[in-house]
């Protein structure tokens, strides 16, 4: 029998071959992070749990499609969760946002940037986000972390829709050029 896999890459590769024990370890190593991401966007435990369950079944079934050259395992799995969350919010008749949305947006300014400093890539992203105008930064962080649409951002930030769209667009363009200059 092969020695136990250690890294997320190896656990994913074994899961692709139908190794359920490896998949259980992959879950143990990644579920809290992914649940945090889902909970942040969906803001309801029951929804986040359901999405998380769907996502792990999907990861199990599609593990063979993971390409290490394209993305790190956590990035790949996170994008599955984020996409599923955004699809979930797009369902017909979504319930209105929880009332604390504005509060949590205000927290983003510039709160979570501090948590980014830990890694080198994170430090670069934090620097570049920090270089944006505060309203651009606020809009981008709120959209990414809470899954808000332009219209929801406009409502929460009490600004016209067109203004918010411009902040987001300019902020993303500046973010990109700043990140490329850092490399």
């Amino acid at each position: 029998m092969a020695p136990p896999a250690q890294t997320l890459d190896e656990l994913l590769a074994r899961s692709a071959q139908g190794d359920r024990a490896a998949f259980a370890r992959l879950y143990q190593a990644s579920a809290a992070k992914l649940y945090g991401v889902a909970l942040r966007i969906l803001r309801r435990e029951d929804w986040a749990e359901e999405v998380l369950q769907e996502c792990y079944v999907s990861i199990w079934r599609h593990a063979a499609e993971y390409r290490p050259a394209m993305a790190a395992p956590m990035t790949w799995m996170t994008s599955i969760v984020r996409n599923r969350c955004l699809d979930w919010l797009r369902r017909p008749n979504p319930e209105p946002l929880a009332g604390d949305a504005l509060e949590s947006i205000e927290d983003e300014n510039p709160g979570p940037l501090a948590a980014l400093e830990a890694s080198r890539d994170g430090a670069a992203l934090a620097r570049c986000l920090g270089a944006l105008e505060s309203r651009q930064r606020q809009a981008i962080a709120a959209a990414f972390l809470h899954g808000l649409t332009h219209a929801e951002l406009a409502r929460e930030l009490r600004e016209p829709l067109g203004t918010v769209k411009t902040w987001v667009r300019r902020g993303l363009a500046r973010l990109r050029s700043c990140l490329e200059a850092q490399r």
Binding site: A31, A32, R82, L86, A118, L125, A143, F144, L172
Partner: protein, 215 residues
Amino acid sequence: MKLNAELKDRLAAEYVLGTLRGPARERVRRLLPREIAAWEQRFAPMAQSVAPVAPAARVWRAVERRITPRPRFAFWRTIGLMASGAVAALIAVAVLLPPQRAAIPASYIAVLSDPKTNHPVLIATAERRDALLRVKVLDPAIEVPGRSLQLWALPRQGAPRSLGLLSGEMKLIAAADQTLADVPALAVSLEPPGGSPTGQPSGPVLYSGPCVKYW
């Protein structure tokens, strides 16, 4: 859709940010995988900066239930036990299905469900005089990379008969009235690429359900 590089990049960025919604989202996902991967990488540290929260143990139990294959022995005998839910689903589907292509409704309809959730995952229909089984997959996630799904007829008497690897249109060896008349249920098993080497289900049975002749 022909786009300049700047617009592509903007669409991919808004896709990853999550502000791109509606049908555009699906198109961008399909058309711009490279640009999306680049933006996912740029934003990855922010996703990772979100504080971890341990999910309830029931989440893993539910996942585990859904990825654990059922025991393979004598699976067709258990179908009677789970048929009631599946029959309800079958009736619901038959009533709700939009009228299909021609004026003639299918004679044979089978609805296969996931026994763990009782959710229907695919519908197979055939017209009585056609040697053609049309399969509509309701849950695209049933595909398993690197493995084949094989469809079986479970006759009232005798061993399962292969209907072939699961696909949208499956050729039957004879008209449905000959091949399906004595078949009260269909099942899908997970097999090595290309199908079972033995001519009988060799892997776990993932989905099954009643096959009913309507007229």
